[in-house]
Symmetry: D2
Subunit: 395 residues, 4 copies
């Protein structure tokens, strides 16, 4: 079967929408620029996992056929944001001009975001549902995948309304604002029949009530926290130590972040979720908690860039002590944006196959995979390829 | 099936000999100390891959049941070498005393090594064969695995006699010294019916004539160049970049080596083989040659330790350039010794199953696996576990 | 003038006591072992600044003539502590045995320390004064230098009694516990006529009331926070950037600490003083505050060792952005102990010359020099050498 | 005295020429762009040492008053080269346009360079002398400073003609090509009465015959090998270890170079001079040779950037072994260009004061200072400031 036949399977005129929560952020802007540039052949698909040969026969929407929209509380138009990213070295000079029309078109589809202060959450959910439905209708879209790429929230306070759809509906009906903003979006996505992806460590679709809702509405969800840099490296180094029976004694990670997320994560309350999600891979892969911890520090001068330093002590034969260190100097938007595109395509596939609820087979993309997903990168990749190429039956 | 049943499968009173070429070197000494310490429960089997749960049902000789002997041109007795390693921090204080008897016993089984100047190589081969046969008889050993852990040789000059057993025998009979020393040992091992492992990048069993001989004599061989540090890391990082569709643009490795091998590798002729073997993984995994190279520098002050620094530039979405660096501060003997024990056990298994010629399923252990073996660590591990647990039939 | 004449200047039978607050800690134990080992020629004076040729003609007490005593709340005897440091690789194997007698003698001079809970601080001061006077008498000592090497305190709460000797005496007389423990020791030192050194960032002699007391009693004081690792490097790198007119844009320091001080500094309240003192050098040398900060994380597995990672971004000609990083893997006790000996000798000199109050010329040794001392290392060294070799007149 | 008076001292209409050997290289292009940008206030003088307050009262030519010319064998015009440097991130976008006129003017003053194959060196010298004299006349210049910023030559073969002016003249007259190209330029500079600076490790003015000629013609010379990155750091770290009496045991430097000089230095013969010059600071400052060495590897992908990794082992009190590592990720042109401007200004000053022969007081700028200059950075800086502000008398 070749790619065009695959495409037929999923609908003759497949047009997929991506609705980005945080649609004027660096990741979203880079995703819009990149989808246009790669879609028209102006740039190679570097960093796009779904463009690997292993997915050649999978019926995925084409990168150039994705239609963008989203929510944001920020007002700077996308063409302006693209220029800023060009100045910062995230996007090559000239490229923003080339795809200016795509940026203008996507910008016209951005609606004002829900703020944390929204008191009437039932109304907020309804607004988002309406925005999604209009976007789908206006664009004549087969389906819309919602991806949260907004900045990290603090972990939510537990509330009984989080447990079931019924309790949640009752609380919202009574006017009680029980949901973190990310969960408002997740709820609206499910009600609108849209797949939803948590690309940040925010709460999003993780509440039991929302997982229940996803199943109820027959839509898939995935997350959480895109694995773009330090944790990606951990997900191959930790298995390496385990395979070689070397005992990891400490693993200390320090992350210097500039720009947007750096500022958000300078707040320890917000950082808590991130730190937690970054730490999980070690305990999972090594089979025991390891001392050291993950630390996040804000260094505005780094701008769109981040540098992580990991210091690992380990023990070899007869207890000999050794050390490994690495630094990762990455541009988060460049690392995240292609994964956002990958996830939109793969979630469209899942939706077309009738998958509903959490999709553990997408663990490859996340620091903290839903539903007990695998943590070692190679196993995650194998699982992903198997799943994507699996039998085209409705689950 | 439990481990003791597994052991029965391979012979009731399984006693396996390890014959170490370079038997008074740091790796060999650490292996002797460690086998005794772990065998008696005085130390945990950290670093021993074959002690993983995945091998629990495989019929491997016990670590405490291995019997050591070997060749060396050096004369310092093993108990003295163990003291030196204690001073250098490779072996814990006190441990050498604890296993003194084992060291003395192994030392008594060490014979003078073949030197590079040996003119009559037919006689040298015969002497090694005799040494191996006497060791086996004296110890009442089921089988003897020969492992080359001596210092690295320069790559050999090509010679027509390397092509076939027949040509090789003829050249040796005529008194022409056509073999590098490592290959003298490999030839003798095969003639004596012993499995042979190239733990260094030296030529050893790689000559077509010797591969033919291994098949002829029905013995397995494995190699080459134990993957102990920098290359181990490469074998997980290179697949990571590949999986994420990130384009590696340069990968420069610098190795600062102290002690024995450092001095040998300060000679560019000898280093050539090592550098070549270290570089292979990148081209194999990334699918194209990558600029940067591998460099080896001798820093005697590092003693038994080595530090590697790898600097990697890579490209993400839309061509954004990023950098990763790592340093690995390791003790080569502590990393290598348990692998030597693993290999002896696994080659004993291969031999007991009638495997002959190169064993690509042991690629996990080597920088430059024989017979087109896999280069990515996770795939290597999966292959190893499958092979070791595979059907106990003669190939 | 030669060294022996210098020695005569300071008294024919010069015997100097060092009274260590925290006398059973790693730094103190290493200092006792080292003074004995170097004093008898069993070890070279590596790390001892006062053994430089530049101080050859300065009348300093000999390293082997120092007499040790001190306070500690811990009870493990010094010979046992020395063994622990041997196990940890801080002290060479064998050395603790060689100087066992010196350890036993010093241990016999250790008195129970003042605890933070001491309610009657007037009584606590009196006890310490008595301990110091008895130590001096018993040892027939010319003078006793008190050095605080105990673990770091949280910064003290401001109190009016800290302003003048008169107010301080009144508060203590009224039974009010207004002093942090380190300042109890500083006060007692001054009352007993002893020079006092703050080798930690704790409050110690910094209170205006205590500075006044030091002048009143005619004794010198110095501090604070011994510059042993990361900050030492900063004190040469920051001037380098300044000299080259390169603009430092961010400087982030991360310190992974094991052992004693690591645990103390895991408490953010205690770390505050340290972080503050470590950060000062940059603002002072670069002439403006620099973003990035200093972070301290506790990694017990590192034991007596620490690793610091500093990440510096800077700007060159036409705004080009560049990066420097360094890691420092040091053993704090090995770095601190010889400086403690240096300071004891130099403070004995200051005392013999009648210097009183803060000695800014010792800035070379400290992260946060008293009395507005210089922060750039070379200037500090030049100032130190000039001062030590200066005219032997009473100030 | 204020700056304008200082300027008067050196001549009312002070116009200084800089003649760059390698005038179309990255360093030269950056220097031309930068002098124009800083001179007109379009960029701050970051990286220009001579703009420090310490030189405020020194009579230096203004940055905007420098007139550029030079030799090069390359033909790409400067405006094009500036665009390339903009693409490479060395020069900010937009700046090359701003100073386009200056680039065109400088480009018009570039003459074809002398090639290594030139057989008639007497003629080559005469051509360069003529080029310099015409440049001076055409620009109505007070003086012209020649600075060699071309790529590194291999160390020259010793020749008797290198010893004296007389022998050198005789050899050239006889048609024997005895000079490396850099020395052809140095000789011509002296004959034309121009100060000459070796900014590379090439031979240049170092030959005794040329030093004699500089004195004879009354012109100053300086060098060699601009200290831009790794060696700059060494020149403060080595004194730090020395001051603290810490014993450096090994110091291994690895340099990954892209672009122009990287390619030149991939040739071991050419690298020899560089390596030698980079290594000198350690032996000089530490008082003994240190093992480890300096290594240079070419990584074209790094382009205009270089990364150095230095690994240092050192010994503290009682022999405890510690490690420091640093990486320096720099843009050589950005680091070198402002120093080239500094040197042109300071050599103009030296010339105006009648200084002739090597100027050791400029050691601050060089890896391998002429005439036994100081190697520690702070001492070098103090010496430079003293010298520049010194009495305006002819030596």
């Amino acid at each position: 079967m070749d790619a065009s036949l695959g495409a037929q399977e999923a609908g003759a005129a497949m047009r997929t929408g991506i609705w980005l929560v945080g649609a004027r952020g660096s990741v979203a802007t880079t995703a819009v620029v990149g989808a246009a540039a790669v879609g028209t052949g102006a740039a190679p698909p570097t960093g796009c996992v779904s463009e690997h040969d292993d997915f050649r026969e999978v019926a995925l929407p084409g990168l150039g056929e994705l239609v963008f929209g989203g929510h944001d509380v920020a007002r700077t138009p996308l063409p302006k944001r693209a220029e800023q990213l060009m100045e910062a070295g995230v996007i090559p000079h000239g490229l923003a001009d080339l795809v200016r029309e795509d940026l203008v078109r996507a910008d016209a589809e951005i609606r004002p975001g829900v703020t944390a202060e929204a008191e009437d959450q039932a109304a907020a959910v309804a607004t988002v549902v309406a925005d999604l439905e209009e976007f789908k209708r206006r664009g004549n879209l087969e389906r819309v995948v919602v991806v949260n790429v907004s900045s990290t929230e603090p972990p939510p306070t537990a509330h009984p309304a989080h447990s079931t759809v019924r309790a949640l509906r009752r609380a919202l009906a009574s006017g009680e604002p029980v949901l973190p903003v990310s969960s408002v979006y997740a709820m609206a996505a499910f009600l609108a029949g849209c797949p939803y992806v948590d690309f940040t460590p925010s709460c999003g679709a993780r509440l039991p009530a929302l997982v229940e809702l996803a199943h109820e509405r027959g839509v898939p969800c995935a997350g959480s926290d895109g694995k773009t840099g330090e944790t990606l490296v951990k997900s191959v180094l930790a298995p390496m130590f385990a395979r070689r029976a070397l005992r990891v004694r400490s693993w200390s990670g320090t992350n210097l972040l500039g720009g947007g997320d750096g500022a958000a994560l300078a707040d320890p309350a917000r950082a808590a979720g991130k730190v937690d999600s970054k730490a999980r891979v070690l305990a999972e892969v090594l089979g025991e908690p390891v001392e050291g911890g993950v630390h996040i520090h804000h260094v505005p001068d780094l701008g769109e860039w981040k540098t992580a330093w990991d210091h690992i002590t380990f023990e070899g034969f007869l207890g000999t002590r050794m050390t490994m260190q690495f630094t990762w100097q990455g541009c988060d938007s460049s690392l995240a944006a292609p994964l956002v595109l990958d996830l939109a395509r793969l979630m469209a596939l899942a939706h077309s196959r009738g998958v509903h609820g959490p999709v553990p087979e997408l663990a490859f993309f996340f620091k903290d995979p839903v539903a007990g997903g695998e943590h070692a990168l190679e196993q995650q990749y194998a699982q992903l390829v198997r799943w994507a190429n699996g039998p085209r039956v409705t689950q």
